[in-house]
Subunit: 216 residues, 2 copies
């Protein structure tokens, strides 16, 4: 186990309030916890992430784990934030090829989807936590949502989205989450998820102010 965290100071690359700055050892603990969480999740999904096991795996007392992440849901949402950052970096490297914004967004989401397919259990744990989260986790869930929005807007290649476009993006995110859930719970095939994503992405063209009603 690589238990080495060098950790520059500073908080995550994305804007975060960051309450009290963490010491180096604390940052290391935090990383160990997130790593253990992702690892256990990869093995057996949501249920396999047991707080006692996470604590043991990351060599931290149970109470400490709860000091860092006030609930299992918080922990998994944080794990998702972590993975999303990763993915955003990866996606940035090879921008999508599509002609239209709709195609590029669909391509990006399908790429993300394929990444999730490689670790379906991990995906299960993260997505279930995300949708199960109650108000007490709103800030964290919102952060995930913002990050997703950024990824989609990136794929669209937009600087100044109109309110209409933002609504379309929200709808795309809704579809993305919900389609993921139906796939994870075995109620929809991969092909169906693909179709749904492509379908919803058509909304983008519909709200594109530069194109004047392009018939399909």
């Amino acid at each position: 186990m690589p238990a080495q965290a060098k950790v520059a100071k500073v908080e995550a690359s994305t804007s975060q309030p960051a309450s009290p700055p963490l010491t180096e050892r604390q940052e290391a603990r935090r990383r160990r916890i997130l790593h253990a969480s992702a690892q256990l999740a990869s093995r057996g999904g949501f249920d396999a992430v047991q707080m006692r096991e996470v604590a043991e795996s990351s060599q931290v007392a149970l109470g400490t784990l709860y000091r860092y992440f006030p609930s299992k849901i918080h922990l998994l949402v944080a794990t998702m934030q972590d993975q999303l950052e990763h993915m955003h970096g990866t996606l940035r490297k090879k921008p999508p090829q599509g002609e239209t914004a709709a195609e590029r967004v669909a391509e990006t989401l399908m790429r993300a989807f394929r990444a999730l397919q490689r670790e379906p259990h991990l995906a299960d744990a993260m997505v279930r936590a995300l949708t199960f989260a109650d108000r007490s986790v709103s800030p964290e869930v919102d952060q995930v949502s913002r990050q997703t929005t950024v990824i989609i807007l990136d794929a669209m290649g937009l600087e100044n989205p109109t309110p209409e476009q933002l609504s379309a993006v929200r709808v795309i995110e809704h579809t993305w989450h919900s389609a993921l859930i139906t796939w994870l719970s075995g109620r929809a095939s991969i092909a169906q998820v693909k179709i749904d994503i492509e379908t919803v992405c058509r909304l983008i063209d519909l709200t594109d102010p530069t194109a004047t009603g392009k018939p399909s």
Copy 2:
């Protein structure tokens, strides 16, 4: 998860396999349970639906409760089925007024949304259960999904939807569920939910084979 009793599954008015027919007392027990579930949920949402309390409220032993509904999630999803049937009946009575299919669907969903607003805690419990459900609840969740589809197709006034239209309907359902969640967890306003629903409903016009690209 092991163990499955050969329990009863009831036949809702809508098509269902329905294992063994229930006796009258059993049917009554089942109703008491669902009633208690909805009542507790209305009070305090998902967390307030505690299996021991449901059992007590419905005058049934805990073991019996589990024989009827193999988990809390099953119970809440069944509660949702129940409420949905109710709502479908109500909606049928006053069909939506809109000119276009998109308008009628949006109107119908907003009407449903307002009904949920009247019992936000109940909505919370049902929707959280629905999205948290794992594979073991797939049949039941699927049933809810089918029922929702029927409601939407009803509003569209369609007999023979094309595959494209079915996909649009699925996307609308995705948006509906997910928007509901963001509202329930306080991350989106009612106004925003309305906008998102109206936005996604535009997909319907986009897939309407009888209209040839009506610009808004």
